[in-house]
């Protein structure tokens, strides 16, 4: 099983490396935007999937990251510096936004974060002196690595892929460390976790802050990809789109956002044949998925695997003992 998993990962990675060579520019662009949105969805997966705190603010964090990158790189500063600033800013704002989560949960938290996204949008649109207002900022440069310009779409794709892999590995490390267990503890049973020494207050804030920082990183990748940013790219609809990615893929599963972002971004492509009806079919599919499998596609998959396993006629003495207890 483990070898199979590693083999699968290697195959996917190889696919991602070969992909742009089989693609026209558009395909490469779509793949790049999949990578970018996966990073944002990964962050939300930490906040929501692992730590159980709903947030509709991920688009706002992407916005903070994207504007930091746009403003700084257009002023001639290196991309990497803008990433540090953007992610740092998101981390701090995420900490602040985490505070309401200490008081309220569920739909209340959803609305506080929704309000935050709306306010962030208003600031991006109205504060023209800083953000360029509704026109946004045009001509965000793509960074160069070791003197190599990334203006070419395929090169920028590989750059994005590199950052994406780094982000995924750190995420993997994080959720498999004791911190990951503490996040899950917060989601599963915050009171019990607290009584076992988990500082739930700190963990909640961190879940928001780290998730937000991933949003910032995603924005920092997006601005040079699109080479243009405007407030409309960071509205509530985008937050909902990211939420959809996490939930459809499987919230709380490491690969959930990868799959979810892929579907949300690529599905319109597959449904193109349906022309004007595709959004309708798409929405109907989501409703159907939520009705039959609320834990998302990976939840469905793991349920399937569990069902197959339990059919294996293994001699399990422990079952007898278990039934007795």
């Amino acid at each position: 099983m483990k070898q199979l998993k590693i083999l699968g990962l290697v195959a996917i990675l190889a696919g991602l490396i070969i992909a742009p060579f089989t693609q026209a520019t558009y395909g490469t662009y779509v793949l790049s935007s999949w990578l970018v949105f996966t990073v944002a969805a990964m962050g939300l997966n930490l906040t929501l999937g692992y730590a159980g705190q709903i947030s509709l603010a991920q688009a706002a964090f992407m916005g903070i990251g994207a504007y930091s990158t746009a403003l700084m790189t257009m002023a001639g500063l290196p991309w990497i510096a803008s990433v540090v600033v953007g992610m740092g800013l998101c981390f701090v704002v995420g900490l602040i936004l985490g505070y309401p989560a200490l008081r309220v949960q569920n739909h209340f938290l959803a609305f506080v974060t929704l309000a935050f996204t709306t306010l962030a949008f208003l600031v991006m649109r109205n504060e023209e002196w800083l953000t360029g207002g509704i026109y946004g900022l045009v001509g965000v440069p793509r960074p160069s690595v070791a003197g190599l310009s990334l203006m070419d779409g395929t090169r920028y794709y590989f750059f994005t892929l590199g950052v994406f892999i780094l982000a995924s590995l750190s995420f993997w490390w994080l959720v498999n460390s004791p911190w990951g267990r503490a996040f899950k503890g917060l989601r599963e049973n915050p009171i019990r976790a607290n009584s076992l020494g988990v500082d739930t207050r700190l963990v909640t804030l961190l879940a928001f802050a780290i998730g937000a920082a991933y949003g910032g990183l995603s924005g920092a990748l997006m601005a040079p990809l699109v080479q243009y940013i405007d407030p409309m790219s960071f509205t509530l609809i985008i937050s909902l789109k990211i939420l959809l990615m996490v939930v459809v893929g499987g919230s709380g599963y490491f690969f959930g956002p990868f799959l979810g972002a892929g579907l949300v971004i690529m599905l319109p492509e597959f449904l193109r044949f349906a022309e004007a009806y595709y959004l309708m079919i798409y929405a109907a599919l989501v409703v159907f998925l939520m009705v039959v499998c609320p834990s998302g596609l990976l939840g469905l998959l793991s349920r399937g695997i569990a069902a197959i396993r339990s059919r294996e006629p293994a001699e399990r003495g422990d079952l007898k003992e278990g039934a007795q207890l």
Partner: protein, 376 residues
């Protein structure tokens, strides 16, 4: 495992990207077929499709039949950017659209980088001010129409003060800024400056502010439905000041939706199917016969766009994008040459359009053209 399969399917899908065959010339139409801009994008697209059929029936362009691929932006800027790229990948020689300025400003970067001529229906001034040598309008930007309105306010109405209601997006902001600049130039005071959101439903507060400013005139720069809602509220609160607008305010849709509240409003339109010109009347009839609804200025923009594209390629004489773009700069098309261009039109070196335009007034349910304003 599942992921690998998804990816493989994705790769396969993208693999099937065909090249245009020799006898046809492929054009891409990227437009707002769904989302808030659906009405606008559909009128634009319908007119283009009608134009393509007529051009093909008349023998096509350079002996080739036109083939048009249509892409739906969902009125989303980033999607439009991706789709312009897709249209180019699919082999489009030239891009038509988008109509929403917020989308155009993003996707025109793609055509610029790849040297693809693009004819847009957007009116935000910034589009032709960014030094993009491949972007062309099919109707003029707000900075071209505002001086005409300003002249009318100043000389026609003798207004000393004006209240402005505008929609706070790319379209409205561009128009607003151009208008306010003209007002300053002419010494007319802007006494109330009220912005509203796209899709805003409640205009009570906006109207209260416009009303209490006691301006000599009210200038409205909103999308169609918002215009109708605003007009109804203006009438409800008994606002007496003359109401002046630009193209959208005088759209047939606004007159219909506002149920009488549009009576008496005046304004400037770049393109209107109510113009007495025989070419425009003929177009309006063909359009409503074919689609069962009345063409508006967005349909006219689309129609002009496809004829502009066809004429420019014909005049360039070969399928060379750079040459087509060069031809379009400083080009003039007259109605004598191409009747379906509807009005004599010329482009400057930035891709901006000059054309005659109209001063109209709504009387009852009718739009009456009061005056023809020369090109500037």
């Amino acid at each position: 495992m599942f992921k690998t399969i998804t990816l493989a399917t994705a790769l396969a899908t993208f693999g099937i990207i065909g090249a245009a065959s020799a006898e046809t010339l492929k054009l891409g139409n990227v437009a707002e077929l769904s989302g808030p801009g659906a009405t606008v994008g559909n009128a634009w697209t319908d007119a283009i499709n009608m134009g393509v059929d007529e051009i093909n029936a008349a023998g096509g362009v350079l002996g080739m039949q036109l083939e048009i691929d249509t892409y739906d932006t969902q009125t989303d800027a980033q999607t439009s950017r991706a789709l312009v790229q897709k249209a180019i990948d699919d082999g489009a020689f030239l891009i038509l659209g988008t109509v929403y300025s917020s989308s155009t400003i993003v996707n025109m970067l793609v055509t610029m980088q790849q040297g693809i001529p693009q004819i847009v229906g957007s009116e935000s001034p910034s589009i032709t001010q960014k030094g993009n040598p491949y972007v062309f309008r099919s109707s003029f930007g707000a900075q071209k129409s505002m001086p005409k309105i300003a002249a009318y306010l100043d000389e026609g109405l003798g207004a000393k003060s004006v209240a402005v209601s505008w929609v706070n997006n790319e379209f409205g902001k561009g128009g607003h800024d151009a208008f306010v600049a003209e007002m300053e130039a002419r010494g007319i005071e802007v006494v109330a400056d009220v912005s509203s959101e796209v899709g805003q439903a409640d205009f009570a507060s906006d109207v209260t502010q416009l009303k209490s400013a006691n301006a000599d005139a009210i200038f409205v720069y909103l999308h169609e439905e918002e215009s109708a809602r605003l007009l109804k509220e203006l009438r409800k609160q008994n606002v007496e000041a003359p109401i002046i607008g630009e193209t959208t305010l005088l759209n047939q849709k606004v007159i219909e939706l506002s149920e009488g509240a549009a009576d008496g409003i005046m304004g400037h339109v770049g393109l209107t199917v109510d113009a007495p010109n025989p070419e425009i009347q003929a177009f309006a009839k063909r359009f409503s016969d074919r689609y069962g609804y009345k063409a508006d200025h967005n349909a006219m923009k689309g129609y002009v766009a496809i004829y502009t594209a066809a004429t420019a390629i014909e005049r360039a004489g070969e399928l060379d994008r750079q040459k087509v773009a060069d031809t379009l700069h400083n080009m003039t098309i007259t109605v004598e040459d191409v009747p379906n261009i509807l009005l004599n039109v010329s482009w400057d070196e930035t891709g901006e359009v000059s054309r005659e335009s109209f001063l109209v007034e709504v009387q009852g349910d009718e739009t009456i053209v009061k005056d023809m304003l020369p090109a500037n």
